[in-house]
Symmetry: C3
């Protein structure tokens, strides 16, 4: 996948406006829905067992985000992943805070093992923890990528037959075919809650139209974030500018700005 | 009700600052509270059986929104509508995603049948589904109005003795006396989550001061949305500009912009 | 504590980026997380019994906010306060809507009595109700301070060995040593939901680095709100500008703007 393919995928997403079902945390439900609307997808935020099977039947993908987790939500997430499996849909797993508590680590692993078509999107400490190393989270918005994260991602690719996206100053898109790196984005994105979660949601939208590597979503989000940061005076205006940038992003801007490399 | 009456109702709302109890979905609780504050009302977001009777006793209206629905929330909504009935308060029902799943369709009908003083506010596909036609929702932010929706609204008016507001490119305000149309607003409003839900909340605020047709709320919201869209660079800045426009809206601007007609 | 101390505390907060665990209401979870990120702290929004003990072990403080309360949340809050007690952490209690219903009043008192190191942050009607007077809340965003509130705060200081912050046109910081007043802020802050809740969250961040009077947080928030209101066209733009102002605030601006007095 090259820059031109990403532009094409974005155009397709806007044309198809895929339905993405999200079971996400209380904090970022609004951000996630707005990010999906801004990029051109159709969000559904739902969680009830009573309607999940029906929803997954007509939805394009499922996004699971384990922030604000508890036993009830784990059951809901488990059931939703089962419905996604039954209907052959991709599951995007955002293991928020994985490694910070055993509840989160265990739940993330349980869901990763359950999903048949899986994309994992997290920051480096979450990816490391999910792969089995211990790492006490510094909040859920920390950002640094490292060799350890890359090794962890490779392990997850094999263990779960997953695609993995590590968010950070450099984003890594890791799968069985190789590794891409993205060097867009802006540090101020880590001072707003929900930018990673929004990326996970958009990853679901691209997966729904068949782009299951996570690359297009990471490209779109990091370029939009970079544009937004240039216009923002701080994290408050960044949040609004990010949605504007997602909405206005075109293939030409993507192509001009994107710093994409293939690592292996 | 004419344009001048709407301006008068807005002034009264700001003077009385009515308390509006909202049982709404996780995604838009923040938007709904902010829309009510911006227009000059006093929001209470609450759901617990333990305090709902007390709250409805001093509240001016109840707004029920069935996004992010589950069994527990249906029980809470049912109990709240009963309290609204007991205290003679208007219930505004926002049947989010009605038609997309049977859980939502059945719950919306159950709540509509229960409420004694009812305003229904939805988009055309939700109104059609609530009235008994089937329509698989395209997310919960779709927008198109049609003859089918108008027929459905007329049926709901009779069936539930309700007032009905259909949101779309043209808004329809339908009740036993006739039909008004509004041609304000902007398509970009559908690329932000919660604009419809905010309209439902504001409908509750006007109902609390005795304007129970839904017209004043739809007028205020669509004009504010139109102003916001003119100032916005995309859906992110639209969201902020919408609250600013609601806050700054005056009778003169309303009168100058409002495209209100009586259809029958 | 003087203006210079507040500037020093702010610099320390940004250097240490303390972890603050928040059990807050659905409406303002996003605001609270963003306010903490903007000021330089690390938010965790969590509630589950399964991970709370682990979290409080490495967290710096606990913030409890009783908006959108129910029986389940009261149990979660109770358990979290017990963990904070066991690990010697400060609890910030935001008694949203205290006085509006007996559920809220009783729960706020129960939690206040339980917490061993307590800061209470509310508006005057909430503080009055918590201290035992009755006051039917005008929504949860009302604002006026009074002698009654000051008397109530003094009582709470003694009764719970607490520090108390009363938010309003004038903020009062009340503790066993005396009373400070702050005359910054802007009335438009009351037309946005979550500004008080964000102050409570930031109070937790300062408590986590040892500033347990609530003064530094109130100073930072009211000055940032004042700056934001000067730039805003209404409550929507205020919300974004507030996060920007928190992010950009420096000791010099604080010192130039802060209207701090010692009342007794």
């Amino acid at each position: 996948m090259n820059v031109k393919d990403i532009g094409t995928a974005l155009a397709q997403l806007r044309e198809q406006a895929p339905l993405v079902v999200n079971i996400t945390n209380y904090v970022v439900m609004n951000n996630s829905a707005n990010a999906l609307l801004a990029i051109g997808a159709s969000p559904i935020m739902a969680h009830s067992r009573e309607e999940m099977a029906e929803m997954m039947a007509f939805a394009g993908a499922l996004v699971i985000n384990i922030g604000t987790l508890d036993r009830t939500w784990i059951e809901r997430m488990t059931f939703a992943v089962e419905q996604a499996n039954d209907t052959g849909k991709v599951v995007v797993l955002d293991p928020v805070g994985c490694g910070a508590t055993s509840l989160r680590t265990n739940s993330a692993r349980h869901l990763a093992a359950l999903a048949e078509r899986l994309i994992i999107r997290g920051n480096s400490s979450e990816i490391i923890a999910l792969a089995g190393q211990t790492s006490q989270g510094k909040g859920v918005d920390s950002q640094d990528a490292s060799d350890a994260a890359l090794d962890a991602a490779k392990q997850l690719v094999e263990q779960y037959q997953a695609q993995v996206v590590i968010s950070g100053a450099t984003d890594y898109i890791v799968n069985a075919e190789g590794i891409y790196t993205l060097n867009n984005g802006h540090p101020m994105m880590t001072r707003v809650t929900g930018t990673g979660c929004s990326l996970s949601a958009i990853t679901g939208a691209f997966a729904a139209i068949g782009e299951t590597s996570g690359l297009a979503a990471a490209a779109v989000m990091s370029v939009a974030g970079e544009i937004a940061a240039e216009q923002a005076n701080g994290p408050g205006s960044l949040q609004a500018a990010l949605l504007d940038a997602l909405y206005n992003l075109d293939a030409e801007t993507l192509s001009k700005r994107l710093k994409l490399s293939q690592l292996s």
